[in-house]
């Protein structure tokens, strides 16, 4: 049943073993380069600049004075090896440069050579290397084999976070003129149109109207999906994939039904029609801030009182951890609510209050497990309690279904394995990496399938959903076995509010 491809899908291991290293198996040219117009839109040189070596070193020097993480992480690694077997890309590909510490070392060797005493005088001794074209190519290739999932940082005795290193590396690559096509194209689209998919306002309005009709056909209730409604109470910021990708769209329908059921006044924004913020993936404070400001501006313009984010992993990390810093202060919003809130927090609160009527039996055709998305699990939280990001989504799921089973403990919560497509790698030119990188997650899934007859994998991340829909078939599963949490809510919710919410 497994899908055919020009590379081999790794075989699932009967029991977890630490792979034997295979040097150079993932060596290559990396993903496609960004085109000149995309580079320009983001303010980067359109091609590799002539004095790239100097530019790269200058940028590295600048970043070292701007980011404590980079400075401390490059200095403190003791090469203990604790992180070496923790990266899903290493487990799936066996390329030693995908071991977190080896990935860091690609940058560290240059840091040592040019910025430390030992590396300047005794390069051989401490593994310091000149910044050659070969090293630059390795950066481009291997820093685009890191999904910035932070799993390695959980296990490092000093919390060294390879994501921080790979963000810095990608920023350096952008500044010397070799950006990655997928990320930079998307950011350019956000600036031009407002969302990653390049969906303009009229098309968005059309889509939403179509969805309203679908919901009415199905339920007989006029559930609305309002766009650009000034004075609404809640601004919903959701990944644009929610507007038409499967299974994302069923999640969007779920949010709309929840809002409808409690009579909330809410709206989407065509100006900020994107929760995702790819500025983080390329390590650019500047771009991350520009994209965040769109949300601030939309909230102000629409005069809303609360901001709620839809299901998206890295978007939630940026929202939870950075939005207030980058685009605040949000003092014009209602102070009783955190800024921003996650849709799961919102639904969870309503469930706690007994405000939703949920029929668990509606999901009896499914046996469900939950995939903790890395950016939610290790980059953010929910509900003002440590670990809320693990508890709340599970509580929402359990309130909506009778059959929930967690995967093995070392593959969930903060030890969760990445879906293999995060961090700006969700592109067809990295298909081999994506398929191999998901191996540990597929093994954990297979185990609950065998042990508990699990049929569906629920997630709260647009990237995870797209990635799973694409790669599940490579491992002998069906693409529709991945679902949104709010799809479960959507199935279970009994709409008692038959009046349509009016636009205020």
């Amino acid at each position: 049943m497994a899908k055919k491809a020009n590379f081999e899908t790794p075989a699932m291991r009967p029991y977890p073993t630490i792979p034997i290293i295979k040097e150079g198996v993932m060596k290559g040219d990396g993903p496609f380069f960004a085109k000149p117009d995309m580079q320009e839109a983001l303010g980067y040189p359109i091609e590799l600049v002539d004095n790239w070596q100097q530019v790269a070193l200058d940028k590295m020097g600048e970043l070292l004075t701007k980011y404590r993480s980079l400075r401390v992480y490059l200095d403190t690694c003791v090469k203990c090896g604790s992180c070496t077997d923790k990266c899903h890309y290493f487990i799936g590909t066996n390329d030693p440069k995908n071991m977190p510490v080896a990935r860091q070392d690609l940058l560290r060797q240059v840091y040592r050579r040019y910025f430390t005493f030992a590396g300047k005088w005794f390069p051989k001794l401490v593994g310091a290397k000149d910044l050659t074209r070969e090293v630059l190519d390795d950066w481009y290739n291997y820093y685009h084999q890191c999904s910035q999932c932070r799993r390695c940082s959980v296990f490092c005795p000093y919390g060294i976070d390879t994501a921080e290193i790979s963000m810095a590396a990608r920023e350096i690559l952008d500044v010397v003129g070799i950006g990655q096509k997928y990320c930079n194209e998307i950011i350019a689209k956000v600036y031009k149109i407002g969302n990653n998919l390049g969906l303009p306002e009229p098309a968005l309005r059309n889509t939403l109207e179509g969805l309203e009709e679908d919901i009415e056909d199905e339920t007989g209730v006029k559930v609305r999906l309002p766009l650009d409604v000034e004075g609404a109470e809640i601004l919903l910021i959701t990944p644009s994939a929610d507007f038409f990708a499967e299974p994302h769209i069923d999640g969007l329908i779920g949010y709309a039904k929840v809002f409808h059921e409690v009579g909330a006044s809410w709206t989407l924004s065509s100006y900020a029609s994107e929760a995702a913020n790819f500025g983080m993936f390329i390590g650019s404070y500047e771009n991350m801030r520009q994209i965040s400001l769109r949300i601030h501006d939309a909230a102000k313009k629409l005069k809303v009182k609360r901001i709620i984010f839809g299901e998206c992993g890295h978007a939630w990390r940026v929202a939870y951890s950075f939005l207030n810093t980058l685009a605040g202060p949000f003092d014009f919003l209602d102070k009783r609510y955190p800024v921003p809130q996650h849709i799961c927090e919102y639904t969870y609160d309503l469930i706690q209050k007994g405000a939703l009527k949920l029929n668990k039996a509606a999901n009896d055709d499914m046996r469900i497990t939950f995939h903790d998305s890395c950016n939610v699990a290790r980059g953010s939280s929910m509900g003002n309690m440590p670990g809320g990001q693990f508890i709340i989504p599970r509580e929402v799921i359990k309130a909506c279904c009778n059959n929930f089973y967690d995967m093995a403990p070392d593959t969930i919560h903060d030890e969760t394995f990445c879906c293999g497509g995060g961090g700006g790698l969700l592109t067809d030119d990295l298909m081999e990496l994506r398929v191999k990188g998901v191996l540990p997650r597929m093994e954990a899934l297979q185990q609950v399938v065998d042990d508990h007859g699990v049929t569906h994998l629920a997630a709260i991340c647009a990237i995870c959903k797209t990635q799973f829909a694409k790669i599940l078939p490579y491992y002998g599963f069906e693409m529709d076995q991945i679902i949104s949490i709010h799809q479960l809510v959507s199935n279970a919710i009994e709409l008692t509010n038959v009046e349509s919410t009016d636009e205020k």
């Binding site: 090896g81 005795p157 976070d161």
Partner: protein
């Protein structure tokens, strides 16, 4: 004044100067470099006292390492735990009246060195035999362990085999520490001429000198790791670095 006495006294001042100034400089550098975004590895504590607990768990118990790899943890604990005890034991060479605590740990310190050595050998074996760790090791990583092993073995030999004149060594050391250089004229304040002791001291001074320019910076570094020392409060509090503020301002002017 004998040559070795002067040589070791001067080297000791030099090594101490490098160690202290180097580490102070690195700490200053870490402290000065801003952390412009909240990036603790979640779940993170919600309060600053929670952060103190988190860091202490890492520094004393190596909690993350324990979750990750029990073998590395075991050897690391043996080495570091014994190292602290051995170091404390050495206090008696530097102060006139070491006090009760230091007296009490003397026997532990004496045998602690064997545990330290065992831990170091375990780490060394892993570095040689585990393919992944061999792949990420540079010559300096092996040499660092060899240096520590050499310090450990020579220390053991000094206290169990060659039985150096500790009274005289203490007299020498106290004169160095208290800057009583006039003592060096007198024979009872000379450094004992015992090859093993001289080797042990030279190796320790070498370690002190390379401390601030090597991976030994993990000791101060762990306290500055944003992954471990940040509070999870980004929704309540903005967290703006000075360089980012400047950027905000210039942008507003530009608008």
């Amino acid at each position: 004044m004998e040559f070795w006495t002067v040589f070791y006294a001067v080297s000791f001042y030099f090594a101490t100067f490098i160690l202290i100034s180097g580490v102070v400089y690195k700490i200053y550098q870490y402290a000065k470099t801003p952390a412009p975004l909240k990036v603790p590895t979640m779940p993170a504590p919600l309060t600053s006292s929670g952060v103190v607990v988190r860091i202490l768990m890492e520094v004393i118990l190596f909690k993350s390492l324990f979750r990750s790899n029990k073998w590395i943890w075991l050897f690391a604990m043996m080495f570091h735990g014994a190292l602290w005890i051995v170091l404390l034991r050495h206090v008696r060479y530097f102060v006139v009246e070491p006090g009760l605590i230091i007296d009490l740990i003397q026997p532990f310190g004496k045998y602690g060195s064997f545990i330290m050595l065992f831990g170091l050998l375990g780490l060394f074996m892993r570095r040689i035999f585990v393919e992944r760790i061999r792949y990420i090791s540079s010559p300096s990583d092996y040499l660092m362990l060899i240096l520590l092993i050499a310090i450990g073995i020579s220390g053991i030999l000094v206290s169990f085999v060659t039985r150096t004149d500790i009274i005289q060594f203490k007299a020498f050391m106290l004169s160095v520490v208290c800057f009583q250089w006039q003592h060096f004229q007198l024979p009872e304040y000379q450094i004992p001429i015992d090859a093993m002791l001289l080797f042990h001291l030279a190796a320790v001074m070498l370690l002190m000198i390379i401390f601030p320019i090597s991976k030994l910076l993990h000791a101060p570094g762990i306290f500055f790791s944003p992954g471990r020392n940040q509070i999870d409060n980004s929704r309540e509090k903005r967290h703006i670095a000075p360089w980012a503020v400047k950027k905000f301002e210039t942008q507003q002017k530009g608008n």
